[in-house]
Subunit: 410 residues, 2 copies
Amino acid sequence: MSHTLSPLAPKTYPDMPSIGGVRFATAAVGIKYAERTDVLLMLFDAPAAVAGVFTRSRCPSAAVDWCRANLPGGTARALLVNSGNANAFTGRKGAEATALSARYVAEATGCAPQEVFLASTGVIGEPLDAHKFDGVVQRLAEEAREQDWVAAARAIMTTDTFPKAATRTADLGGRTVTLNGIAKGAGMVAPDMATMLSFLVTDAPIAAPVLQALLSEVVETSYNAITIDGDTSTSDTVLLFATGAAGGTSIERADDPRLGAFRAALADLTRELAQWVAKDGEGARKFVEVRVTGAESDASAKRIALSIANSPLVKTAVAGEDANWGRVVMAVGKAGEPADRDRLAIWFGDVRVAVAGERDPDYSETAATEVMRRDEIPLTVDLGLGDGQARVWTCDLTKEYVAINGDYRS
Amino acid sequence: MSHTLSPLAPKTYPDMPSIGGVRFATAAVGIKYAERTDVLLMLFDAPAAVAGVFTRSRCPSAAVDWCRANLPGGTARALLVNSGNANAFTGRKGAEATALSARYVAEATGCAPQEVFLASTGVIGEPLDAHKFDGVVQRLAEEAREQDWVAAARAIMTTDTFPKAATRTADLGGRTVTLNGIAKGAGMVAPDMATMLSFLVTDAPIAAPVLQALLSEVVETSYNAITIDGDTSTSDTVLLFATGAAGGTSIERADDPRLGAFRAALADLTRELAQWVAKDGEGARKFVEVRVTGAESDASAKRIALSIANSPLVKTAVAGEDANWGRVVMAVGKAGEPADRDRLAIWFGDVRVAVAGERDPDYSETAATEVMRRDEIPLTVDLGLGDGQARVWTCDLTKEYVAINGDYRS
């Protein structure tokens, strides 16, 4: 899997500060590829509060089942992630593999298996041989020390061409707290989170139910607002851990006024990570922000935005640097949401190409083409009906996407 | 637009019998391309009964608006179709173009404009200059004589690589009646009919309301059961005309028992035409029949079948001749319909690759790969929940699809 680095990859990585109460280790176990780190172990020195959001697939992976079952406990001592095998659609063997994996970690760290969270990403349908973790997990637990966030992000990659990591700080009741996150995902990425994994850690002292409320809120404008191919994975997992190492009294209510800055930082961090996923879409050459305004509701705006962002014809037009706004009209029309053809207006960047249901008489093809040549293309549709609005992010559909996915298993 | 002929194109065309009461003519007007027939005029000697089904797009073309407005009249004297320009999202100019086109035909043939049906297919958003039809329509009306169905099918092509025509006969109350049809469509094709045009003519004596009931019924298992890219057009139009030239008393009720064979022939004809559209999907190299059984209802089965048929990851796997059933699981899971991961079974051709929620222990990769090498690939999913079933048809997603659509306007 040596795909060309996405041209949308970051030029540099942020300096990721350490977060108190958590240690990392990674290893190359050879789950699918030799000589490539494919296991990440995160250990929490004390029980961390944990929140999670998972795929809405009716066929979730065994790891998703495992996390869902343990989430009500509200505390985490460890996270074990592997790439190369999704442990999805693996029946009873899959459930056994999660139980065995968690047992290895529990024994190595002295916690309960229910405090071990798991995620797996990679090929679906191949049984995951959890025995491969035996010995490895024990060694990683001993080695785990510094937090190399970019190395951690690299260990969970599949068809990603670059690791994804981001950081924020926020004031929480007079103390500065830190929020770090990593993510992976490049294909089978759609709202409801597709083969998207993201792990977020903060040193803020926040109780699990509050973390859960915050996480459920921010996924709507981040991980659930990106799409690469409209294909929802069996394995999508976002986990947010709070170690409390920053000190201070624990926040026990989601409406605590001290949460204002933290909530904003979390929304900002998750949006950045989600955008990196879209920028690393399989075969992507261009990043597209689809903004819909003037819809009857925000939910309607989002459905229309996703209809545009998921349209193969819109995405191939972007790949071809073609300001083909007719296809945007098509995608608005097919969304099944309230729309009035004769009120539609469409912009590529600042160039209004259509207005009041027809081509903008002042529209300059040259100016529109100039916008299409950029790496990042803002596409705006105003429906002229109400106040509903939404933003979603996607990438173009290129021949490389087909090449990558026509030959994935071989 | 000289795309390579689809490898799934028919080797020969059927001998299309003439249908009494209808005459054709075609012309090359240069709407978009020079020296290519792009206008089809069908004339009915006497008023024909007419039924229609159109796109569900919220942004329909001016021609769709025109037909919808005139359909309640129930009679047609002419059909004018152009390729190269969809006359969609053209605002007031679009409506004026349809009125002018219909007036030319009405004046040339001595009928009312409301008896003229129109369809346009091609680029969206470019005003259609109906003045180009002036003189041409009059000449075509004079020339219209023999029925060259394949030539008619060719005149309505856009990115199609071959014309699509089919024929059936049926017994209707002791008389043999004939049903002929043509279709076009290769991209922007999805249920709700996408850039799909199909025109059907029979000499059976059937009243318009009965025709409408029959047509609305058969579209569900034909034109609304194919998808190429999930993109629904602004312009989808299926029209069914009945000249009555076969003689006999007119059928006035949809539950008339004499209709049995005709209904079956119409279903069969429309399914064949729809399948030709899927076989000419832009860049298609393989034809896929997706069959879902054991769903909670037929409607649920169809939604799951479409989720599979629209999945870029399933379609690229087919292009790569990869029996990647994990992606089929993914597509079942994302459909949002009732499904139990641990009851799923999946077949490629006769090869069962997964059963009871995991890889079939007897599954032979070699046998599955053998199936994937075929031109036509049957893919079956049994959900093990109920009696609901559905079949839909699609094609693979290839680099050529991206090439064709990344460069459509240029």
